[in-house]
Structures are given as C-alpha cells and as structure tokens.
Assembly symmetry: C2
Homo-oligomer: 499 residues x 2
C-alpha cells in the first residue's frame, strides 16, 4: 500500500472517531438521555460535527486526495479506493465553492426556519412560516448557484438526493403513474370498505416490542450487528455495517403502524448491514442515494409486508403475542393493512395514495423553482391539488402544507425519492420473479431469507459504489419505468376490492 | 473573572467534551451496542480516554494551575475554584511522579491480569491467576512508591479511595465490629430461619422494570436528570448532576435482588444528582471518596430499604405489579429481605454477614502489604478466615478468593470503603433520628423524601469539597465509630430472629 493511501486511511480513521462520537450523541439524545442532559450533550455534539466538517474540507485532506488522483498513484488503487478518491474529490470541489460566510448564514437561517415551521404547525398558521420559507428558497437557489452553477437549479437539487436523476425522467415516471393512479384510487374509494372497528383495543407495549423483534429477525435483520431503540419518530442510523440501529414508537391503542415501521426501518437497516464490510468508514458505504435506500425499506414494508403470504408463517406467533388478534383472521388483517383511504397526512397514508401525496409535493417544488410561484400562493395550490388527486381539502395548513418538515431546513428535491423508491420496487419485483420464481410461494413457505439474500447480492453489497441508474440497469436490464409499479397496484387492489 | 480562570474553564470544557464522549461510549458498550460494534467503539473509547489523560497532565494545564495558585490570583477565586485549583494541583504533582514508561507497563500488566483472573475464575484454578496477582502486587507497591514515597504503602492505598483514612482507624472500627458481629451471626444462624420457598416462581421482567421505576421515584431519583439501562452487573454513572444513569439486571425467577440493586444504585445516583450544580464539570463534583459514596447507596439499600416501614406506603403497588406477592404478606417479605445466611459470595450477602466478607478482604490485604504473606498462601488464608468468621469453607477458589475482580486490576485498598460506608450509615442514622425524629414513622407515613432532603442538605450538595472525616464531623459532631452500626444490627436482628 502506498504511503499516501495509508495517510488517507489514518485520516479517515480519525475523522470516523469524531463522527462516531457525534452520531452516538445524536442517538443518545433521541433514545435515552434525560431532558436536563440536553445542553451539554448538544454542545459536545456540535463540537464533534464541526470537527468532522473541518476535517472533511481541510487543506491536508485536499493534498492527500490530489496526490492520490495523480495517474501513477491512482492506477495502483483497487476499485473501491478509486471510487472513494474520485467521490471525495468531487464532493470536495463542490463544497469548496461555497463561501464559508454564506454557509454559516445558511445554517443559521435554516435553524430559525425549522423553529418557525414548528411554531406555525402548532398554531396552524402558515403566515408564521411564510417569510422563512421564502428565505430558505432564496438561500437554496444561492447555494446551488455556488455548488453547481452550470446545472438547472431543480435538477441540481434532485441530484443531491438521487445522483443522476433529473426532472425529465421524473416527469415521465410520475405522469405515467398519475394518469392511471387517480382513477384507480377513485374506484377503490367508491368500493365497499373493510370494517376496521375490530382493531380497536389495547395492545401491550412490551408485547409489541416482542412483535418487532420477531419481525426484524424474520426479515433478516442481524441483531449481532444491530439493535433497537424508541423515539418520537422512527429512523435508522448506522455507525458501520457492524452496528446499525433502528427505532420505533409504540402506542397502546394501535399495533399496525409500529409493525410496518419495524419492517420499513428493518429494510433500511438490512441494506446497511449488508454493504461490503471493506467499505466501512469510507464514502463507498455512505448511502446518499435516497431513492435506492428508500426502495429497500419500501420493498420490505409494502411489496413484502403488505403481501398476505408474508404473514402466513408468523401470524400464529403474532396472535400469541397480541391476544387481541385472536378475534381477527389473517384475511381481515390483510384487508386492513391494505385499507386505502383518502387522508391528509402523508406519513399515515397507505401505499397507493402515498404516491399521490408525493406527486403533489413534487409538482409544488417545480412550481417554486421553475415557475417562480410565490410563497403566499402555495397553500392554495396545495389544497387545489389535494382536491384534484385525492378529492379532499385540508381544514387547516397543519394538516396541509405545514405537515412535513422537509422544506423548513431546505431539503427541496428530497420528496421525489420516496416515490422513486416505490417505482424501483415495481421493477425489482418483476426481475425477482423472473429469477426466483413465485414470490407469493416463497413467502408462504417461510423462505423470505432467499429474497433478502437476492437483494443483498444484487443491491446491498455494492453500497454507494453504483449510481441509481446503474443499479436499475444492472439488476433489471432496462431503463426505469413506472409501469411495473402501476401494474402491481392494479392487479393487487382489483382483487382486494373486487373492482 | 480573571483571564486565567477563564482559560481554565475553557480548558475544562474541552476536556469534558472528550470525557463525555469516552463515558458515553462506555455506557453504550455496556447497555445497548450490538456485539459486532465492539472493535470500533473500543477504539474510539481508547482515543478519547487517552486525550483526557493527556490533557489532564499537560504542561499547558500545569501552567494555568500554577498561575492560579499565585497568591494574588488565588485570593480572587471563590471557594469552589479554590478547592478545584488546589485539588488539581495535588493530583497533578502525584501523577507527574509516575514515569510514563512505568505507567504504560502497569496498564498493560493490569489488562493481562484481568484476563487471567477471568480465566482462572472460570477454571476454578487459582494457579492461573497467581503469577499475575504477584505482579500486580509488585506494580502496586512501585506505583505507590512513586506517587507517595513518604507514606506507608497500605495507608497510601487506602487513601486513594477514601481520603484521610488510615489503617489505624480502620483497625479500630473493624475490630470493634468483628468482636461483636461474629457471635451475633452465630446466634442468628442457629435460630429458626424464615421459609423462603414462597418466593419461588416467575416474575415478569417488564413488571420488574416498573417496580424499579416505582422504587426510584419513591426514594427521590429525578428522571428529568437521570435514566436507566440494563447491564450484566448494576452500576451508576454520571455525566454531571443533570444526567446520572443507573443500571440493573433482571432475572425471571427472582425479584428481590433487582429491587435492592435499584435502591442501592438509586442512592448513588441521588447523591450525584444533588451535588451543587455549579460544581458540574470540575473535580469538586468528582466523588472519589468511595466510602462516603457507598454510605449513601447503602443507606438507601439497607438502613431504609431493609426497614419494614419503607415498604408500607408502596407494598400494595408492588403486589399489583408482581401478582406473585399476593401470597406473601409484608411481614414475610420483611423477614426474607433480612434473611441472614452464611454464604460464600459477597455480592449476594445480607447486610450483616456482608461486613465479615469485607473484613476478611481487609485482613488479607494487610497480610499482603504489611506482613508480606506470599501469594501462594492466600487461598488457604482466605478459607481459614471464612471458616473462622462465617463457619463455612468454599469448595473451590471461584467461590473463594477468585470471586471478586478488584485485585486483578490492582484496586487494593478499595474493599474497606464498602464497610466504612455502612459504619458511617450507623452514625448518620443516629444523627438523623436526633434531627428528624422517628425514622420508622417518617417512612411509614410516606415521608421518605424528607430523609432524602436531609441527606441532600447535609452531604450531597457538597460533592467532593469536604473530605470524609470532615463530613462525619460536620454531620454527626463526633469521630467515626462502629458502635452505632453494631447497635443497629443488634437491636434489629434480635427482634427479627427473636434472639
């Protein structure tokens, strides 16, 4: 190994130690820290995050990277290190374009905006948030002009969260979907709905924890390389492939949401646990392709978890842990977990209407960055689209445009990745069927681990070294299309709702 | 505030950030980290501990401290900072006397010795551990010759864990106790014993967790400034008075141990939570007086927790959480939690025989450091003393001399602090009765918080700024004596066992 590569490795080791401290503080603050511990934990967390940022933009690192980019050094690197060096160089160049003053202003504005958003949401009053949203839009434009002056701004934003993706492709995919989805949802809503009153009751929290454990083990989450915690909102975080953590939130009067959160976060975690362990601690393991990441969590949650056969091998155990389910047949359970409702809140939506929630956000983001629609017109635009696609109008902005925090911290361009994930899933399902045969049968036979192994081999092990379009091409052998997802929806819901 | 004091504060802030990372990694490794996460967590933990050690012995710190020790600066400091500067100077001088080479050798030997001890214990074979123990004794002697060349070696060791304590005082206290305790235990063991078969059964783990929460809240543990975790062995750790954490271990077939661990660790935690918050992040809050620290955990565990009146206000709630207790009256419960047995293992002993377990260790430590008894004679000496004081002889060294890990890492002089804690408790109880009246009545009336408040005011708030002898003097107005503890034992157990 060359001395310079060794230098890079040592540098990354040091950066990872600080990064680990920052992440562990983050984890602890959300899962267990008592409230009075906040101030000092936050102070330490800021310190370590700042150190990581400084190290990742230092002259020293630049020198090391540039040295390794020289042909005579570069040629000696193996594929992973080639990827790492190139990717770091690329990030370095983009980050260096941002003036430090501006970056600090941006962070400050974003902190204030998040606080204003929270206040506005609680007060159900968009006007509190509006000036901050306007500012964040301006700052985001400026940021992208610094980072990627040659790219159209909204495409540059989309690229941040899904490399190689552009709005031309997304327009095509989302339009394909929307045209068929809106009428399908109307038909479903008009059909007779399942009776959900049977599900009302008490579900012991500790029993729900055991259900989570059962589900995670069932789908292939490795408890030797992962663990669980409890937080207000479920999330997944990983220190490396050897320590990936998922959280959940349990409610005594409801048990289905926590089951699907467990499966969803479990999907994210299985991805991270199965990245080639050689990539640990490098950008080759940093999954910043959110569409692909989301495709894995949603594959487990929706394609597998909302399939009746998924539950056949374990339903008895669920009933044993949650005796309330004694009164509920697997058939009734299956109908309820696929109960389509036209509702206001994205995070509570079923898999079908969820797509429309995302399309609304995508179209509004385009209206902001492409058509220059002003902030004060956005609530009206939101409500108009809700009525058009879902046939309902929010009573207030808290259940409308204020419901998600994404725009408050400037994460424009993030929303589409959720739906891209599902679109990819439709394609993965088609290919998986060709290669593994009948998926329903595999699930019913308790062979879900074969599916996990397939995903490990086809997608997970590569970590971040393949770009989203390359993954789709390599796995499915064709371009991205929304047709498989739409076909999956139509077939599945025509049966369930006897359309 | 002087510039130099500000410099010290900034320096401590930085040191505390590293210290917090090291402690949080420690916490995480024991409570939640999945096993494959070990290597990288350990690496980060070593890094931060080393940084803290380097910072605590740096030339820069020495310069700051020396500057603040100058009369014109020193006089401007408030009492706390005077204490902090003096104490840091003292530690600095002692630490600087240890050659770095030797320190590293010592740490290395200690790591190897711990591993050998574990192996020996599992194999029930003292000979595996003997050469390491011999080495640790030699290293400890050397260490103390460096640190405190003018002090008699065993007194210097005792001083490390209980400042101002010496073997002359301990000899007096332990002899006083032993002379009356050995015959008392013999009488108790000869008396009719309570029937403990009723306690056999299953205790739901989650219900035990709720019992722990109930007990901690009852005695005054503040969940806004503290939290709980689960580990192999219970312990308490604090980041500051605002974040103190206790752990426990729950077993399905036994519930009493976990209750008393909760109360014991809760006692430690209440101490730390109630130190003057201005002391946070300084040596004024570093409780290195283990006897005093232990006196607080043992006061809650034994003096309060093993008093029948403690349970009167909460016994119904315990029965509700652990239905097994429906068959057990409070009277029967009281007898069981004070069931005296001559048993082998210190950590499982009742409060009476516990004293004798400690005295045995103390006498053996003196034999090692004062009389130069060789390592190969120690198991025999152990067994002889067990027979003499407790009337039983261990079948093997695992339940004899190998049971505790303390000597394996060189913590000679630590054991006596456990019993000193109980001796202090006897004195505190006397004074508390004078000042608060009938303690039994306070407990029975659910007024335990008044007791906690008294301890807060008399002991906790001072943190480490008063030395053990000063605390006893200030609280009780007299010299340390074992008479109150012995009187407490005699009165209590004469009644329980109708002697």
């Amino acid at each position: 190994m060359s001395d310079t590569l060794q230098e890079l490795k040592d540098y990354l080791d040091q950066m990872n130690i600080y990064g680990r401290a920052a992440e562990l503080l983050f984890w602890d603050m959300r899962t267990i820290m008592p409230k009075n511990g906040f101030e000092k934990h936050a102070q330490a967390s800021t310190f370590f995050s700042t150190e990581v940022f400084k190290m990742s933009t230092s002259d020293k690192l630049e020198k090391i990277i540039d040295e390794l980019m020289k042909p005579e050094e570069y040629e000696k690197l193996d594929d992973m290190w080639k990827y790492v060096v190139k990717k770091m160089k690329k990030e370095f160049v983009l980050d260096k374009r941002i003036p430090t003053d501006f970056y600090e202003e941006y962070v400050q504005a974003s902190t204030e905006s998040e606080a204003a958003w929270e206040e506005a949401k609680n007060a159900k009053d968009f006007s509190i948030f509006a000036p901050h949203l306007e500012k964040m839009i301006e700052y985001t434009k400026k940021m992208m002009q610094y980072r990627e002056p040659d790219k159209e701004i909204y495409d540059a934003l989309l690229n941040q969260y899904e490399e190689g993706m552009d709005s031309e492709t997304i327009d095509r995919l989302f339009t394909e979907l929307k045209n068929e989805l809106v009428p399908l949802v109307k038909k479903i809503i008009a059909a007779p709905q399942p009776d959900d009153s049977k599900f009302e009751g008490k579900y012991d929290i500790n029993a729900q924890r055991q259900v989570q454990k059962l589900l995670l083990e069932y789908i292939g989450f490795d408890f030797d390389s992962g663990t669980v915690g409890e937080t207000e909102h479920p999330f997944t975080m990983g220190f490396s492939s050897k320590d990936v953590r998922v959280t959940n939130h349990f409610y005594e009067n409801e048990s289905i949401n926590a089951m699907f959160s467990a499966i969803h976060e479990g999907g994210h975690a299985i991805f991270e646990q199965n990245i080639n362990p050689d990539y640990d601690g490098t950008v080759a393991a940093s999954l910043d392709f959110m569409g692909i990441h989301e495709s894995q969590s949603r594959f487990y949650e929706n394609i597998l978890g909302r399939n009746k056969n998924f539950w056949i091998p374990i339903y008895d155990k669920i009933v044993e842990l949650l005796p309330k389910y004694k009164e509920i047949s697997l058939d009734e359970f299956y109908k309820e977990i696929n109960h389509v409702r036209n509702s206001f809140i994205r995070t509570e939506a079923d898999e079908v209407t969820y797509c429309l929630h995302i399309i609304i956000r995508y179209e509004i983001e385009k209206a902001i960055f492409r058509e220059g629609v002003s902030v004060d017109k956005l609530p009206e635009l939101w409500n108009k689209k809700m009525e058009e696609y879902l046939g309902i109008v929010p009573e207030n902005d808290a259940e409308g445009i204020l419901q998600d925090m994404h725009w408050s911290d400037g994460s424009f361009g993030y929303f589409p990745t959720y739906l891209l994930g599902s679109i990819y899933d439709g394609m993965f399902l088609d290919t998986m069927r060709e290669e593994l045969g009948d998926i329903d049968k595999l699930l019913a036979d308790g062979q879900i681990k074969k599916i996990t192994k397939w995903l490990n081999e086809k997608i997970h092990k590569y970590g971040a070294t393949r770009r989203p379009k390359e993954i789709i091409k390599a796995v499915c052998g064709k371009e991205v299309s929304a047709e498989p997802l739409m076909r999956y929806f139509t077939e599945k819901y025509t049966k369930i709702y006897e359309l």
